[in-house]
Symmetry: C2
Subunit: 118 residues, 2 copies
């Protein structure tokens, strides 16, 4: 089997309640990553696409964050309700989910015009 066609990194960083930068995984249970993993397996993509736990991806104010390589598409504010759409649209059909994408102007910036954290 070749390299992963898509490698999904799901931020599992934790910070204390009320931290000004927020927290991508408040429960520490990696539920979002586990959901990606189980949905990929259901879709028959286990082994070709991997959903990986990641430490802090450093785009905290836009979290929960997910980055998909090799295409380097960054998603912000990702919830469990978005996982099916990311898999079906981005992974299977090759059409990134634009409504969840972090604009390039929001990545690696201390401040940006992005919507405030929910």
């Amino acid at each position: 089997m070749p390299k992963f066609t898509h490698h999904i990194f799901v931020c599992g960083n934790q910070r204390p309640d009320g931290h000004p930068r927020g927290c991508c995984d408040p429960t520490g249970g990696a539920e979002l990553q586990k959901l990606f993993k189980s949905k990929l397996a259901e879709r028959g993509l286990r082994g070709s696409v991997r959903a990986n736990k990641a430490g802090c991806l450093d785009q905290c104010e836009h979290g929960p964050n997910v980055v998909i390589y090799p295409e380097a598409i960054w998603y912000g504010g990702v919830t469990a309700a978005d996982v099916d759409e990311i898999i079906e649209e981005h992974i299977v059909r090759g059409r990134p989910v634009t409504r969840l994408m972090l604009p390039d102007t929001c990545i690696n910036t201390p401040a940006c015009a992005h919507k405030p954290r929910r």
Copy 2:
């Protein structure tokens, strides 16, 4: 600042001593990831290149593993002594360190001709 030019994921997965699949981070201290991070900062690459903690990258028998995106170059058996070379050669000069690269035939395979785990 734009997206990371290189995003380095360093496996920090832990397994018990003697586990047949091995363990990429026996101390659990993420020393390898921290070393990448500090060396990148020394080299003035903080913000443009990120060294990220990752959960299990699933190439355990070849670990400690590192994968660098967006180029999807996989390294195996990486030690602290290799970090300067990966940064200088791969990241700065764009020349992946061939002696550490996992061949495509070793990635996502249960068995391969790769050297046995040290």
